[in-house]
């Protein structure tokens, strides 16, 4: 019996180690490469820990590319989009969940049905719309479409369906109107849901690539993912030398720090958020 338990324990730790090594190994390798001088990147032996540490790659990437600007663009867009989505979804989600009005169910069904329509169908008209208003390469083109996201509305409605009605009734008896009830009673209650929505919207905007690739043209509005893709403008195996990867990895490390930091700080909400919603944003 006892040997069985010991064997089980060894097996557990062995499997756990494999999972951790496979998950984090590539990330450690990315960091390791980013600190190596050019000559050490192409050694024949695997060097997990750089023999000589250098920050040269970081200096190069920051000098040659406008990474700072991309980061600022990404931050502005992601924060603005998150605020916009929180405001729109908490208002509409509240009405859809707690108010009776003509057409409520049809409107909700219409909104939800958009989950089935891939965004690739909307990109051509959206691009024509924004270029018609001369807003290509403008923050607005990156921010405004996020306001129409369906997921936040769905999540907020879901949350509001499950709050007890007594508080609202009491406030109504005291003479508060719907706006006051929403602002002073309901919104403070909704903090967990708002946090989940904020994380989902922020992260999906921060990481989004397809639409920003289409609608940004210069560093003025280029976000981090689009900017980083330029590292690969020389195709691998064709002309990009292995030495150049030091610089690419330095850029990749810099771009990964914010989301990984946010993830470790808000880890609990993250995993809860994903498992409760099963949605990406």
């Amino acid at each position: 019996m006892n040997t069985n338990r010991i064997l089980g324990g060894i097996l557990w730790y062995a499997l756990l180690l494999v999972v951790i090594a496979l998950s984090l190994g590539p990330i450690v390798w990315m960091m390791s490469t980013s600190f190596k001088p050019e000559g050490d990147i192409v050694t024949i032996n695997i060097q997990w820990i750089p023999k000589t540490f250098t920050l040269e790659n970081y200096r190069n990437v920051l000098v040659q590319y406008d990474m700072l600007r991309w980061t600022v663009n990404s931050l502005i867009v992601a924060i603005a989009a998150t605020v916009l989505a929180l405001l729109l979804s908490s208002l509409s989600g509240y009405a859809l969940a707690r108010m009776e009005f003509c057409g409520r169910n049809s409107i909700f069904l219409l909104i939800i049905s958009m989950l089935f329509i891939p965004m690739q169908i909307t990109v051509v008209p959206l691009f024509l719309l924004f270029s018609g208003f001369n807003l290509v390469d403008n923050y607005l083109a990156l921010i405004l479409p996020i306001g129409a996201n369906v997921t936040p509305v769905f999540l907020m409605r879901q949350f509001f369906l499950n709050i007890p009605g007594e508080l609202e009734d009491a406030a109504r008896v005291d003479g508060a109107n719907d706006w006051r009830i929403w602002a002073w009673i309901v919104m403070p209650l909704a903090r967990p849901a708002l946090t989940a929505v904020a994380i989902i919207v922020f992260l999906s905007t921060w990481n989004s690539f397809f639409w920003p690739l289409i609608v940004t043209q210069t560093d003025a509005s280029r976000t981090l993912p689009v900017g980083l893709a330029q590292f690969m403008s020389l195709r691998p195996g064709m002309s990009m030398s292995a030495q150049a990867y030091g610089k690419s990895m330095a850029g990749a490390v810099l771009a990964s720090i914010p989301p990984i930091l946010v993830f470790f700080m808000l880890q609990r909400y993250f995993i809860e958020g994903v498992s409760k919603t099963g949605l990406k944003g």
Binding site: W12, L16, V19, L22, S23, L24, P26, I27, T33, I44, I46, L91, S92, A95, R98, M99, E100, F101, N105, I107, M114, F116, P118, Q120, I121, T122, V123, V124, P125, F127, L128, L129, L144, G147, A148, L161, G165, D178, N207, F209, L213, I214, L224, P225, V226, L228, A229, R235, P236, G237, M238, A242, M249, A252, P259, I271, V274, S275, G278, L279
Partner: protein, 302 residues
């Protein structure tokens, strides 16, 4: 997509009011404006544009089904469809099996499981372009980490026979933690007494897995399959960064093709038509899966 899962929420009515009020519409208005302008409108417009020959030069006119009739003769499109199907057929089973195995492993009450979960989920929070750049380096032919460990010189991204596998490996590594979290949530929803009952009946571990875990997990499996298939059919970012659809058309996928046609050649009409094809494929698959699921549930319930 949760709406597709069978556990539909029951709609509780708000405070009953008979008289007509404007307030709810004011609450809805801001969102509905954005929804009409940036979601519903563009979706309908995309549908319309796919029946035109809209491109950057020349006059735009309605061409009926011409865009769709041209599709069977468009060899690049056929390649893209084939590649996307192959990518999905390789990625989805791998992801389901690995993420379920991970979830089962890390659902045990043992030391270090939280660390394991966090580690497995970490790749998913990194942005797609970083993933693409990182794996281009790992899969490099001469000095890439993978080939150094394998002691071989496989031209992962340059050889058209293996390039698609490179995209598959990268995608699985990137997203397996996400599916694991969905499965973990599903596993934790299974009541403990079901397992206890099975144990009392003398079921072994494999029997418990087949007769208890899998049926109880059916809604989660349904959701994960749906999400992974939908995402696989829309694969773009990794491909764009790692191979740009090459070599040749070896990794050209549907969305990569839509991007090329609509935004590099600026053939808006044909690009929209291909996007509509993607939509039809996705909705067809969703309906098929819902039917299979319903039949499955009825079978178990009987």
């Amino acid at each position: 997509m949760r709406i597709l899962a069978p556990s539909r929420p029951t709609t509780k009515a708000g405070p009953a009011r008979k008289d007509f009020r404007w307030t709810p519409y004011w609450f809805m208005l801001p969102y509905l404006l954005f929804f009409l302008l940036f979601r519903l409108g563009p979706s309908l417009a995309g549908l319309g544009i796919s029946f035109t020959n809209w491109q950057v030069a020349g006059t735009t006119k309605f061409v009926g089904l011409a865009n769709f009739q041209a599709m069977p003769h468009d060899t690049r499109l056929l390649d893209a469809v084939k590649n996307t199907v192959v990518f999905t057929a390789l990625t989805v089973p791998l992801l389901i099996v690995l993420s379920l195995a991970l979830a089962m492993l890390l659902n045990q009450r043992r030391k270090g499981r939280t660390f394991g979960r966090v580690a497995a989920f970490t790749p998913f929070v990194m942005m797609s372009t970083v993933i693409g750049i990182l794996w281009t380096w790992i899969l490099e032919k001469d000095f890439g980490l993978l080939n150094m460990y394998l002691g071989r010189k496989i031209p992962w991204l340059v050889d058209s026979d293996v390039a698609m596998y490179s995209i598959v490996i990268t995608t699985v590594w990137w997203t397996v933690g996400y599916d694991m979290v969905l499965f973990l949530a599903g596993l934790q929803d299974i009541p403990r007494d079901v397992y206890e009952a099975a144990e009392i009946d003398g079921a072994n571990k494999f029997q418990v897995f087949r007769r208890v875990t899998i049926p109880m997990l059916a809604p989660t499996i349904f959701l994960v399959v749906l999400l992974t298939v939908t995402n696989s059919f829309q694969v773009f970012d990794q491909v764009y960064v790692m191979t740009a659809g090459g070599p040749g058309t070896a990794t050209l996928t549907l969305v990569q093709y839509i991007y090329t046609v609509a935004f590099q050649f600026q053939k808006f009409g044909y690009g929209s038509a291909v996007a509509l094809l993607l939509f039809v494929i996705l909705i067809g698959f969703t309906l098929l899966q819902m039917r299979a699921y319903r039949r499955g549930v009825e079978g178990v319930g009987a």
